[in-house]
Subunit: 289 residues, 2 copies
């Protein structure tokens, strides 16, 4: 883990529920899920976009924590026995595997709700509550039926069968893409962006999300378990259709490069230079050894 | 169903997700859960409290729909095989029973997220976004770890064992009470209440929630399945500790009366007379034949 990730982890962890409760096991399961590692990609993208649009207020941080909580809840529920039935995630036992299936459901519910509770703390520090309201709206929209949750639903529905190219496209844009779009859009909106500038941010994030998902498919085939910290070959095991199985490895790698270039060009159109953001994006999309 | 409930149902249903999506089965499962009936108690309490505090703007309605979505999601997840494993709810097959266990999880997630998306629509019509932000904050807090979800967690944890009086109290105050508190507090806050007046609202709702939960325990013993529209005797089946098993039927009935009187007295302290609200509360707490 880099120093920067460690520092970011500390900042994010400060937003976790700290007050003890008689439902202590739930608090524990939520915090376990959240602190089990991860690249913190979404908060990073959010913070860097915020900066690239000149943002410098305190209202960004609760949203950074919130988006990571939503990402975490989605993993916790995806891992459930009735979903992907995964026992290992980021090199650690999955939440349901430690706390039981019922608390796997509850920890996800708790994190999702706490994400909105945390984001709502931005109202206590913002100078522009209408703008904070717009960010809240984006957060919920992109996480829900017309975003991540919808993508996950179609993915679950088609597991074991062969999705069409169009369906796979929908899954990638929503299951992975939507939350990355939310991350960068919230950063931009909280810094005052709207209109075409905001659309450009959304498209940059969509390209990053798509490239990231294809890269994941590539890694599922080429990486080994220790490197990746999760079960690999699971797509093959589940006879899952991915961008790689649909278009082949070469086309997949080419598409990752194309999308990365698109994203970098769009980031160049942000109001301020964003070398760290560009470096992050370039790194994300070439994770193979 | 009364004419008023039918009218309210129509108004609430307008807030459901109407836009078609490739994840159509998820939208269907969400809408199925939401429209499977119910007394719409929480939106009613919210609207009546809003009126009793002089509120008359459009920002209340998205919150009314949102609180009912959160209530619905909690039922959908409670019914899951890994939780209460219920097959029947409000006289209809439970969501997981119709759509499968995976879509039971997803429909709950979708509804919870859509609740916040819906509530956030209040920002588009409010004249006071800071106030709307406070309502959002209450919604999330009372639904989460330090509210409903926490109560549910302790309830799940103690199923099959004997909770102490203190633990039962925590479960009742949170699993049932917290969302009723949110309903009435949001109504009051959106109409401009704060400070002691808001505390009085919270305590009125807490009394109603507690009485309502004890009444449910009583009905689980005295009602039959057709009347209640759900499995009865389930507490006994699960050897569950309730207020009735802990303190006896007579004490339970007495406590319901005491709490109802407290709630009615607190409602008398609202700025405007609220005869419909008082009638609703009195009716809620004497549902046995």
């Amino acid at each position: 883990m880099s120093d920067n990730t460690a520092k970011l982890n500390e900042r994010l962890a400060e937003w976790l529920p700290r007050e003890e409760t008689q439902a202590e096991r739930l608090r524990e399961a939520m915090n376990y899920s959240f602190t089990a590692g991860g690249k913190r990609l979404r908060p990073l993208l959010m913070a860097m976009t915020y900066e690239a649009f000149g943002g410098e207020g305190p209202e960004i941080e609760p949203f950074m924590a919130a988006i990571e909580m939503i990402h975490t809840y989605s993993l916790v529920h995806d891992d459930l026995p009735c979903m992907d039935n995964d026992t290992l995630r980021r090199g650690k036992p999955t939440t349901w595997n430690v706390y039981g299936e019922d608390f796997g459901v509850l920890a996800g519910d708790g994190l999702l709700t706490y994400a909105f509770e945390t984001a709502a703390k931005a109202f206590e520090v913002t100078g522009d509550p209408a703008r904070t309201g717009r960010a809240m709206s984006i957060l919920a929209r992109k996480a829900g039926l017309y975003g991540m949750c919808g993508g996950q639903a179609l993915d679950v529905l088609l597991t074991g069968s062969a999705p069409s190219a169009d369906q796979l496209d929908f899954i990638y844009r929503n299951k992975t893409g939507a939350l990355l779009e939310a991350s960068m859009m919230i950063g931009a909106v909280l810094a005052g962006a709207d209109g075409e500038a905001l659309e450009n941010v959304e498209k940059a994030a969509a390209a990053i999300g798509y490239a990231f998902q294809i890269e994941d498919d590539i890694l599922d085939i080429t990486a080994d378990e220790a490197e990746l910290g999760k079960n690999v070959g699971s797509d093959e095991k589940n006879a899952k259709t991915t961008f790689v199985t649909l278009y082949g490895m070469e086309a997949a790698q080419k598409e990752v490069r194309r999308l990365t270039e698109e994203a970098l060009a769009r980031i160049d159109a942000f109001p301020m230079p964003a070398p760290s953001l560009k470096e992050l994006v370039a790194g994300l999309c070439s994770r193979r050894k």
